[in-house]
Amino acid sequence: MIFALILGFLLLIIGIYGMLTQKNLIKIIIGFSIVDTGTHIIIVSIGYIRGKTAPIIDSGVDLKNAVNAVVDPIPSALVLTAIVIGLAVTALMLSFVIKLYQKNKSLSIDDYQELKW
């Protein structure tokens, strides 16, 4: 599915652009979340085969030639794990933002220069 592949790459580019150009910490995390969604769409659209259906056996799929009627189930399993881990990473970054704000009272990334040398 070429449209979904193009959509995923455009989302990834927009997310990286946002992460590189914004100064606000929460805006950077939103850009990270957009990059996450873009990569997930790319991986799922790689596993899609045109005209075939989901790999769940019920009344909609004939059991005799089920191998020829379903798409690849491995990329969706990978993405299923990646979504949950993405939520955990986002929550960790947001907790860092809260601690940094309590320390320095600022959300701009220009005010955090302790690691520059």
Partner: protein
């Protein structure tokens, strides 16, 4: 004949999503944007049911069930934030 009418109905619902999104771009206050998100959620549930009909799989309806249960929680969170207390 019936398939054509179903497809026309889905395209009209897609136009509804686009119109709500225009309000989400324009909206002067945050409450306007939350209202637009609410409308987009309901239309998306209808669109999921249409895709389940179009692909001829009953199992896709479970996604609509989960969506109908979970989706209003985000809007309630935005509303409680506007009311200054979560």
């Amino acid at each position: 004949m019936a398939d054509l009418i179903y497809n026309i109905a889905a395209i009209i619902a897609l136009a509804g999503i686009v119109l709500s999104f225009v309000r989400l771009i324009l909206g002067p206050t945050a409450a306007d944007r939350a209202v637009a998100l609410d409308g987009m959620t309901i239309i998306a549930i209808s669109l999921i049911v249409f895709i389940a009909y179009y692909s001829n799989r009953v199992i896709y309806l479970d996604v609509a069930i989960v969506y109908g249960l979970i989706s209003f929680v985000g809007i309630v969170a935005v509303a409680r934030y506007l009311e200054r207390g979560i």
